[in-house]
């Protein structure tokens, strides 16, 4: 083996080592996230009991008498997220059925990309729209609406999630084999009956997975709620009131001048850990639902 061949072989090895390292970086990112969250959260739980954190109903880490019950933040988060689901699930599912079953190829080729534009708009823009357009609109219908409220964040977030729900559900509907539709038509079903009683049930696992993913996105969404939903951690089921979500709390603390090592600094990691675990569970459920309950044809 001559010298050039040898150095070429060395180059090959060096390059494949570099490529391997780059691929491994994504795994290190996961470890990094978990590591950073655990480290600061562990320091937090040295001072606050985990039971108090998870079951307490008052969240006042910035007051003189500090209380660390995270429930107001969690319930605020889900108040907004479920509101968003009430918008995005019916609209997204109807849009998906229309695109998959009714629209001609040409109509679909136009409507789908335009709908996708909604998904590409920065969330800070949605926040602006929620605060300056939707909230005044809500106020004119319900005068008791507060300037910062869960409802306007929910509505805007629901529309933001619409393309995601629609596109994943549509993929699931399109994957249902044609023979199933033909069989249902053969039994005398109308298009509506075939769509809703045969195609949708057959694609249900994909559709449910889309809903769960959208819920996970809604829980982790930050800027819309930070701008429009307020900074008042309280337990309420009235969407016209100001609340605070987990993500909005992290933003609130990050904007202030919170020194490293204080309990307030550690709270954002504790809240972040909870957020991470909640979204991870939902993502895993979505993954599991797709895998486990997928109707396999052929």
């Amino acid at each position: 083996m001559n010298l050039t061949q040898k150095s070429r072989r060395l180059d090959e090895v060096a390059i494949s080592v570099f490529l391997f390292a780059a691929a491994t970086l994504s795994i290190l990112t996961t470890f990094g996230i978990v590591g950073v969250l655990i480290q600061e959260t562990w320091l937090f739980f040295q001072q606050v009991s985990i039971v108090e954190f998870l079951t307490g109903t008052r969240w006042t880490p910035l007051f003189v008498s500090k209380q660390f019950g995270v429930l107001p933040l969690v319930l605020g988060t889900f108040l907004v997220a479920i509101g968003a689901m009430l918008v995005s699930v019916p609209l997204g599912l109807m849009a998906a059925i229309y695109l998959a079953e009714y629209a001609s190829d040409r109509v679909r080729a136009i409507l789908k990309p335009v709908l996708e534009v909604l998904a590409g708009i920065p969330t800070v823009v949605y926040g602006y729209f929620a605060l300056t357009f939707v909230t005044p609109l809500l106020k004119s219908v319900f005068p008791e609406t507060q300037t910062f409220n869960a409802a306007s964040a929910s509505i805007v977030m629901g529309v933001m999630l619409l393309p995601m729900v629609a596109s994943i559900s549509e993929d699931a509907l399109a994957a249902v084999p044609r023979s199933l539709r033909e069989a249902a038509y053969g039994l005398g079903g109308t298009k509506l009956e075939v769509s809703t009683q045969v195609v949708v049930p057959a694609a249900l696992s994909g559709i449910v997975a889309a809903f769960v993913l959208a819920l996970s996105r809604a829980v982790g969404e930050t800027m819309i709620v930070a701008i429009a939903a307020g900074q008042q951690p309280k337990i309420t089921f009235n969407p016209l009131q100001s609340i605070e979500t987990m993500t909005a709390y992290i933003v609130q603390i990050s904007l202030g001048d919170t020194p490293h090592g204080t309990i307030a600094y550690q709270t954002i990691f504790a809240v972040g850990s909870l957020l991470f675990v909640l979204t991870l569970i939902m993502n895993l459920i979505s993954y599991y639902v797709t895998r486990r309950f997928r109707e396999v044809y052929e």
Binding site: E12, F20, T30, V159, G272
Partner: protein
């Protein structure tokens, strides 16, 4: 079968009761179809109203000072010069980090190991999990790892590193798809001429896949350019009244400047935010059009 033919068949076969029944079922169908179209139209209407609202609010404030002035406590004198610089450099550094790493990872997964290899499967599951992690969590990672542990402070570099980790999964997925689209005959031909694996990849596979990869990179960056939450978490500031000189300077970016203007109580600042949004949306639109053009060029190749 069209609904009329179905009705005629039913009329020949059954009595009038079945016919009216069938008519009703088809009527339900038409209502349902209208509702489906309405759902999409609600989304589109929302989009139109949003764009219209932002443009109407922001247009009076779209003036040269918006680009040349630093932020100020007086709306008339405020601009987003520092935010534009921050966004520009942040995107450049993010791309410089995430592009080579993302493409390398994709090359390893597509060209160096088989898709069924256990390591490829682990990385695939990991990447799809990372894609579901809320972006604010990446901010906490950046705060703990880059700002504190590596001591980079609240600098542009810390922000760009955080953004690079955030877009890495998107780039890897797009680059893998682009690499997969290159026909294996190209690889076989190069191997037959005695090329090594890296020579095949560098000289044949990568050039063919490049426009697809770049499309993915542009889309990933257009996601990053609008990201606000992770940068707020690592502590990007909103009031920066000097030009960026080094990657270790503190910084701000367009969406953070917009967020800051939204949260100020005076009406003028809200309009200024709308003007900033218009600029941000124009940048995004340009990037997305670029991506679409590149995607079409790629289609022509095969």
């Amino acid at each position: 079968m069209s609904s009329t033919t179905q009705t005629i068949v039913a009329a020949r076969t059954f009595g009038s009761e079945q016919v009216s029944n069938l008519r009703r079922r088809h009527a339900y169908g038409r209502v349902f179809e209208a509702l489906g179209l309405a759902a999409i139209m609600i989304g589109l209407l929302f989009l139109v109203v949003l764009l219209f609202d932002v443009i109407v609010d922001g247009l009076p404030w779209l003036r040269p000072q918006l680009f040349t002035e630093f932020p100020s406590r007086f709306a008339e004198r405020s601009g987003m010069r520092s935010a534009l610089q921050g966004t520009f450099w942040m995107m450049l550094i993010t791309a410089a980090i995430a592009f080579p790493l993302g493409v390398s990872a994709a090359i390893y997964l597509e060209e160096y190991i088989s898709r069924d290899h256990w390591y490829a499967r682990i990385i695939e599951i990991n990447i799809s999990n990372l894609a579901g992690v809320p972006s604010i969590i990446y901010g906490l990672l950046g705060l703990g790892l880059f700002v504190r542990y590596m001591g980079l402070g609240r600098s542009l570099l810390a922000g760009a590193l955080t953004m690079a980790l955030l877009v890495l999964p998107i780039i890897i997925v797009a680059a893998r798809e682009a690499l997969r689209a290159v026909p294996s005959s190209q690889r076989q031909a190069a191997y037959a001429l005695g090329a090594t694996r890296w020579q095949v990849t560098r000289d044949h596979v990568l050039p063919s896949a490049m426009s697809g990869i770049l499309t993915g990179v542009i889309l990933a960056l257009s996601r990053a350019i609008g990201e606000t939450a992770p940068l707020i978490t690592i502590g990007a500031l909103t009031y920066i009244a000097f030009d960026l000189r080094s990657p270790l300077d503190i910084f701000t970016v367009m969406p953070i400047q917009i967020f800051n203007w939204i949260s100020l109580p005076q009406r003028e600042f809200s309009a200024l935010a709308a003007a900033g949004i218009v600029v941000l949306m124009v940048v995004l639109l340009t990037m997305n059009s670029l991506a679409i053009i590149m995607r079409q060029r790629m289609r022509k190749q095969w």
